[in-house]
């Protein structure tokens, strides 16, 4: 009934945070959502597989950096997910 990828508290929170920002570094997301590296990575992987987010990895000097952006598909999915949630509440 609902989008399985988004119908999960951490992932919906993650997308809500990403939607408010042009892009966010992995570390900022981790701190903001108070998650461990592993936990955040596994949620990001699921969102990336669904093409809801874009993960960009690059080097700043010798340090690897990871930037996460929400994709247009992710925005649309989140929009319709909220719509579905609201509709469900109205109908029940």
């Amino acid at each position: 009934m609902f989008d399985n990828i988004l119908h999960q508290p951490i992932r919906s929170k993650l997308i809500a945070t990403l939607i408010s920002n042009e892009e966010l570094p992995f570390k900022a997301l981790k701190e903001g959502l108070e998650l461990t590296d592993g936990n955040l990575s596994s949620h990001l992987k699921k969102l990336e597989l669904a093409q809801y987010i874009i993960i960009e990895k690059y080097f700043e000097g010798k340090r690897p950096k990871t930037i996460i952006k929400i994709s247009p598909k992710g925005r649309d999915a989140f929009k319709s997910y909220i719509k579905q949630l609201k509709q469900f509440i109205q109908e029940n």
Partner: protein
């Protein structure tokens, strides 16, 4: 927990993470395009109004036109916020609105001083500089590189043109200043409006 409770909790989680996030700012980029046209109209007409009538008339004209712009903007923002069940403005929206309001008020006051002293060129340059600075600050706060870049371009251009007037005199740029102002001020607003429209920072 039944399905309804789960859905309600999910909605609360989303809402709180959007609202708790001070960076949340539903925005319709059509507003920028609207301001682009308003600024072009003001730039191209207000000096003529000052010449035809008085400087006070021109200032009144700026105040009326910008007030109409703000009212339309508030209406669009409220409509946009409704989509997220936000009844008032978010903190970030309040900051951005105040930032531009103070800039307009100060730029209008400066315009009076410059026009009254036959220094219209500096009125236009001060608008380019101040709005460049407002864009620069907004870009940092809302985490939008395009605003910051446009801000830096406008700040640099206004400083460069002020320097030119100091070296070569006001006459060098006076005949073109209106068009320069339209290019930098209105152009940057319309450019941001069109390019950012595709990646609206809203749900």
């Amino acid at each position: 927990m039944n399905e309804k409770e789960i859905v309600l909790e999910q909605l609360n989680t989303i809402e709180s993470s959007l609202l708790d996030n001070e960076k949340f700012m539903p925005f319709n980029y059509k507003i920028l395009i609207m301001w682009g046209f308003i600024s072009a109209i003001l730039i191209l007409s207000f000096e003529n109004i000052a010449k035809l009538y008085t400087v006070w008339y021109a200032i009144g004209y700026i105040v009326i036109v910008t007030t109409i712009g703000f009212l339309v903007e508030i209406y669009i923002i409220k409509k946009e916020n409704k989509k997220y069940d936000i009844k008032s403005f978010t903190k970030l929206q309040k900051f951005v609105e105040s930032n531009y309001t103070f800039t307009i008020v100060f730029a209008t006051a400066l315009t009076y001083v410059f026009i009254s002293n036959n220094l219209a060129v500096y009125a236009y340059l001060s608008w380019i500089f101040m709005f460049g600075y407002a864009d620069f600050v907004t870009g940092f706060v809302v985490n939008c590189k395009k605003f910051t870049t446009v801000g830096i371009i406008n700040i640099s251009a206004s400083i460069a043109m002020v320097t030119i007037t100091f070296i070569f005199g006001i006459q060098v740029i006076a005949p073109y200043i209106k068009y320069i102002a339209v290019l930098f001020l209105s152009g940057s607003l319309i450019y941001n409006g069109l390019t950012l429209k595709g990646i609206e920072k809203s749900v």
